[in-house]
């Protein structure tokens, strides 16, 4: 009897091991999620995108709706205001040294990249932006982030979720955080936005 109890533990352990393997298959999911690097200039998104400025994302990332690249603001764009505004703040001083009044020592700000899909993936920003996918859907509520971090896993399953099940505009709107969350109303399949989801849509 006692002996039997001893070895009946073995199949149990085996089952656990199998379960662990299956779960570990998911561990490949974007290891870089929630990465929050330090930027050369501590740019406060809340100050610009929220607060009383409420700049539109497209003010700085001005090609997000017409190019695969969202676009980073040129240093000149920043200087547009900061040539006068808050010119005494240490972070702004950094900005000035980068700009150097367009002189020979001027150099672009080496921002640290956060959201990146592998290069065999083609992610045309404009198609998504023009389809009504809100920035926050993928990038999170940047307007509330003191330091931006990688919000989504950016792994393939995450992309495909929307492409197959369709994108719910209401949900996207809610994701922005600008409209109050008034209970979940799931949009019927017909009214969602669908995209093709065969490989060649993004991989070529």
């Amino acid at each position: 009897m006692t002996q039997r109890r001893k070895w009946t533990a073995i199949p149990g352990l085996l089952a656990l091991a199998i379960g662990a393997v299956v779960l570990s298959a998911y561990s490949g999911a974007s290891s870089s999620q929630n990465r929050q690097p330090v930027q050369p200039i501590n740019f406060p998104h809340p100050l610009h995108a929220a607060g009383n400025l409420k700049l539109n994302c497209l003010y700085c990332h001005n090609t997000a709706n017409k190019s695969p690249d969202p676009g980073l603001p040129a240093v000149g764009t920043c200087m547009g205001c900061h040539i006068v505004v808050r010119a005494d703040k240490p972070e702004i001083k950094k900005l000035w040294t980068y700009y150097a009044m367009g002189g020979p020592t001027a150099k672009p700000i080496p921002w640290v990249r956060i959201h990146k899909v592998p290069d065999y993936v083609h992610f045309p920003h404009m198609r998504h932006v023009n389809a009504g996918v809100t920035c926050q859907t993928c990038h999170g509520q940047v307007q509330t982030m003191d330091r931006v971090y990688q919000y989504s896993s950016l792994n393939m399953g995450w992309c495909v979720k929307c492409h197959v099940n369709g994108y719910d505009p209401q949900e996207g709107l809610r994701a922005t955080g600008y409209v109050p969350d008034t209970g979940r109303t799931v949009t019927p399949a017909g009214e969602r936005k669908y995209a093709r989801y065969d490989c060649a849509n993004c991989h070529y």
Binding site: V22, A25, Y26, G28, A29, S30, S153, N155, M156, G157, V160
Partner: protein, 490 residues
């Protein structure tokens, strides 16, 4: 040894042995079985030398593979359009080798073929190691071997799965199943024998190991009851499995539209070829073992004779398949097929085709002669030719077909490089390393099954059991093979 046949003339009389009757006249009792089989486990200098050579070959192969992974498949001899080469050839070769093992251990078990008892353990071990070797090659020949697991269906965050219509995925399932089942089959069969070793072993460390491996087996009637039943079912499963596996492997070719591949005859043809090559390898292995382990009175000439008959049969099946291919091409009226088969025997690759036909069709015909069937030396030499011939059979299937496909502009040639050869060598090293380790750690013959055919001690000896055999001259050394033992078996 080759001359021994003439030392014991039979005055022209064929010894005709009913296989159901006494199997091992030269084996007296259970203790002798234990003593002699366990006696083979003592490592010898020669064994260490062979093992050393095997490991060396393996290391060469590993180095070559590392180099190939680093710089890309280009270092192998691939020459588009020949996109498959030595690796796939060798893969099919080893899978084929594996089949004889399962055939002998499972199919012959179901058919109650007596001569299987003494050789099936070796054959089965050969199967497992051959499949282990073969299993490496599909990974080895990948452009990105580190991604091989994409062929295995496992839940992943990409939400994508293998393409189950691809013969290569069929391969993955067939081979993994085959490896699992055949290794389980081998291990189950081993448990009682390991129990024997455990009980005979004096060295505490080895004893502990054997004790663990034997899972506390104790030969109780209850264990035996379930054991025989389970063994039967496993054999029943393995039988269709072994047929399916090589059929699936043949689908890799038959499902493609390459002239020379796209043929319905492939599955039976491949299965027969596999068993044929496997028997070849069995001879290559068992004949030296019975000699150097002095087990001639276990693996008797009767057993070799029976195996040789099967070898001859499969050889003729394969030969028929070869000819069928040509006949089909000829009658198909398909220009591509016809040009290919003409090219096979008279073109660029004629030499390979003729090696194949000679080794697999012509030489085995010698087995019609009983004297040669019962001549271990000849069987050994022949087996080497068979191995060679079967490797070239796969070469003839893979390379010439691809090098002369539909598009004349892309016709090409093929020449393996040292990388291909090193990895081929390495595969033999890998196989024989495992096999050598096996034969000195575990019994090369199924002790408990041998005991089934050895008469147990009795208070009142049976009138009808075994005695009749003695006066039928069955114990004639020419049959028992005792004469091959310098100084006899005991």
């Amino acid at each position: 040894m080759a001359t021994t046949a003439s030392q014991y003339p039979l005055n022209g009389q064929r010894p005709n042995i009913p296989s159901a009757a006494v199997r091992l006249p030269a084996v007296a009792d259970y203790e002798q079985v234990d003593r002699e089989i366990i006696g083979t486990l003592r490592p010898t200098l020669g064994w260490f030398t062979l093992l050393g050579i095997a490991v060396l070959c393996l290391l060469i192969g590993i180095t070559a593979w590392m180099y190939q992974i680093y710089s890309g498949l280009g270092v192998a001899g691939y020459h588009p359009p020949v996109m498959w080469g030595v690796y796939i050839i060798t893969f099919v070769f080893w899978i084929g080798i594996g089949h004889a093992g399962t055939l002998i251990s499972a199919i012959l078990y179901l058919f109650r073929a007596g001569f299987r008892t003494s050789i099936y353990r070796c054959a089965e071990a050969m199967t497992v190691f051959a499949v282990m070797t073969a299993g490496l090659f599909p990974i080895l020949h990948l452009g990105r071997p580190w991604k091989f697991f994409w062929l295995i269906p496992y839940p992943n965050w990409r939400l994508i799965w293998p393409q189950f219509k691809s013969p290569l995925v069929w391969d993955v399932f067939a081979i993994l199943t085959y490896l699992t089942v055949s290794s389980t089959f081998l291990y189950i069969g081993l448990i009682p024998d390991i129990a024997v070793l455990r009980d005979r072993e004096t060295n505490p460390v080895r004893k502990a190991i054997y004790a663990t491996l034997s899972l506390g087996w104790r030969n109780s009637d209850r264990e035996w009851r379930h054991f025989t039943r389970a063994y039967l079912f496993l054999a029943a499963f393995s039988t269709p499995l072994v047929l399916s596996v090589h059929s699936v492997v043949s689908f890799d070719f038959a499902m493609a539209l390459v002239p020379g591949w796209h043929t319905t005859v492939f599955p039976p043809y491949f299965v027969a070829g596999a068993i044929f090559s496997g028997l070849g390898m069995v001879f290559t292995i068992i004949i030296p073992i019975r000699k150097f382990f002095r087990l001639q009175h276990y693996v008797t000439l009767n057993d070799l004779d029976a195996a040789a008959k099967m070898c001859l049969f499969t050889s003729m099946v394969v030969g028929l398949a070869y000819l069928t291919e040509f006949q089909v091409a000829w009658m198909s009226g398909n220009k591509f097929e016809q040009e290919y088969f003409w090219n096979r025997v008279f073109g660029q690759w004629a030499w390979a085709a003729w090696i194949m036909l000679l080794c697999n069709m012509v030489l085995p015909l010698s087995l019609f002669s009983q004297r040669l069937r019962r001549n271990p030396s000849w069987l050994f030499i022949l087996s080497l030719f068979i191995n060679l011939g079967m490797w070239f059979e796969r070469f003839v299937i893979v390379v010439p077909s691809l090098s002369h496909e539909y598009e004349p502009w892309q016709w090409g040639s093929y020449a393996p490089t040292f990388v291909d050869y090193s990895i081929l060598l390495g595969s033999f090293g890998w196989f024989f390393m495992w096999f050598l380790l096996f034969i000195k750690q575990l019994p090369v013959m199924a002790i408990s099954e041998l005991k089934e055919v050895v008469p147990p001690k009795r208070k009142h000896p049976h009138p009808d059991e075994f005695e009749h055999s003695r006066d039928e001259g069955i114990a004639h050394p020419f049959i028992t093979g005792e004469h091959e033992l310098p100084g006899g078996a005991h």
